[in-house]
Symmetry: C2
Subunit: 328 residues, 2 copies
Amino acid sequence: MGIRVGILGYGNMGKGVECAIRQNPDLELTAVFTRRNPAELKILTEGVKVCSVAEAPGMKGEIDVMILCGGSATDLPVQTPEMAKYFNVVDSFDTHARIPEHFDAVDQSARESGHVGIISVGWDPGMFSLNRLYANVILPEGKDYTFWGKGVSQGHSDAIRRIAGVKDARQYTIPVSSALEAVRSGANPELSTRQKHTRECYVVAEPGADLKRIEEEIVHMPNYFADYDTTVHFISEEELLREHGGIPHGGFVIRSGKTGWNTENSHIIEYSLKLDSNPEFTSSVLVAYARAAYRLNQEGHKGCKSVLDIAPAYLSAKDGAELRRSLL
Amino acid sequence: MGIRVGILGYGNMGKGVECAIRQNPDLELTAVFTRRNPAELKILTEGVKVCSVAEAPGMKGEIDVMILCGGSATDLPVQTPEMAKYFNVVDSFDTHARIPEHFDAVDQSARESGHVGIISVGWDPGMFSLNRLYANVILPEGKDYTFWGKGVSQGHSDAIRRIAGVKDARQYTIPVSSALEAVRSGANPELSTRQKHTRECYVVAEPGADLKRIEEEIVHMPNYFADYDTTVHFISEEELLREHGGIPHGGFVIRSGKTGWNTENSHIIEYSLKLDSNPEFTSSVLVAYARAAYRLNQEGHKGCKSVLDIAPAYLSAKDGAELRRSLL
């Protein structure tokens, strides 16, 4: 029998977790939990039940790890500590500023129940955080840079959709190549918001809408677009669906630092992702950490952890000797 | 008082460790140990003693972690298990095929004495191994690629120097750009040795030597050059010292993998290093893991570990709450 996994929330990420579990033979999907009517939810995996979220507590003992696939704004702050009463839990909480309080809430719940919770799993926070940490400890004298994209920003796409006369929209965040090259050269440039990323918007307007006004509203929107060079393309709904239906993303974490008695030598550490599907990649990271949560709990650990607290070997189904032989 | 570190072996790497310790205020250099005559060894740090390696066992209790800076061929297989009797130890053992037996030897010694040993620390093995592991657990269906360079290969440079008529030489290993681009495209190419790297040699010949013969001997040398496209440049000794005095290196670890119910989405994870000084970068990794060795031992851990077994947070002088706030 494999590690028994539950999925709470069946949007893009929940479906991604379902797919990722199929790629990991030591894990098995036990049930999908939803706040919708379970009878109306069709999942991909044959023979796996769909349950109401209210049934979850009753399934304590049948599920080893619950993977939470809700949103960070309102779902996870409530769901992760609640589910940690019954299961080991993994989530992708990504509101950076609120991580400390979320950590404390999950920690308290998981300690009381004797479970392991791993929060903020994904790529940023997640793999990008790990790479920032590794690069910082190796090169204490240096400078960090993070670039995002090219990829779809859900938040920025939503912001455009809220403008009157906009039927649909897709916004791409794009790192500026010359800025990336300057960082890679070791020049340690100071880069403004505008110098690091551009924003490209594909907008479907309602018939008869004032395109000039929509474009002005987009490019001057505070916080979202005003500080960036923004390009707006009006396209048809067909083109949007055909050419911009995916959810790609990615980015770069770069640290540029110095070593030597007189800091005479420069080094560049770069980690990058190019992802066809942002939610499926995040899901794949969640599933690897679900394995770690289960194994740590089996060894007697409890409480909340982040990716920074997990020894990499716990993520793999292979044992230590095999990892040393094949990957070290 | 900081974590008290000893250095055994004072070549390029030992000197690099000395420099790295100065960049980490929570560590202090206690002594440098040498097999040479200590009176003849001048180190960079004021007020730190140079001792004979025979004095090391007597300094048990004065040093928290010994960083071993010898070679993998003959030094480390003996020194690391020996020093683990008295200290926590960290080494950069890099003979991939012999890692399992080295691990066992250090493990036995460290368990008996109650110390922690961390072996094969550096960038390959080391940071590259970590990145292979993380990428493999996230994308179980995929393919790994490692490219090295552009950088100086000490082994290949030495091989050229052994040819009759060669006074000095420097060999650069260079990844083939088109191969890198093919991998990054997600095409999952099968690449031969020749397709992945080229070799560029800068050779100072003895006066009157037969340059044609030297070049032939280089490009046809089995194992070292015969399987590669190799370019040989004859240059003056002055030019060699002026233009090729550094020890740069680096490389790329890339995993290309698929996710989705029908593995319809492609992802590329890439980690790369561009290093002015190979030994100083390796040394900087060693020093971060020295901190981890000490902290793990303080918590009661003992035995041998590799980078795969160390939770990233142990590498940082910052505590968990600060790391979550600043890096996650």
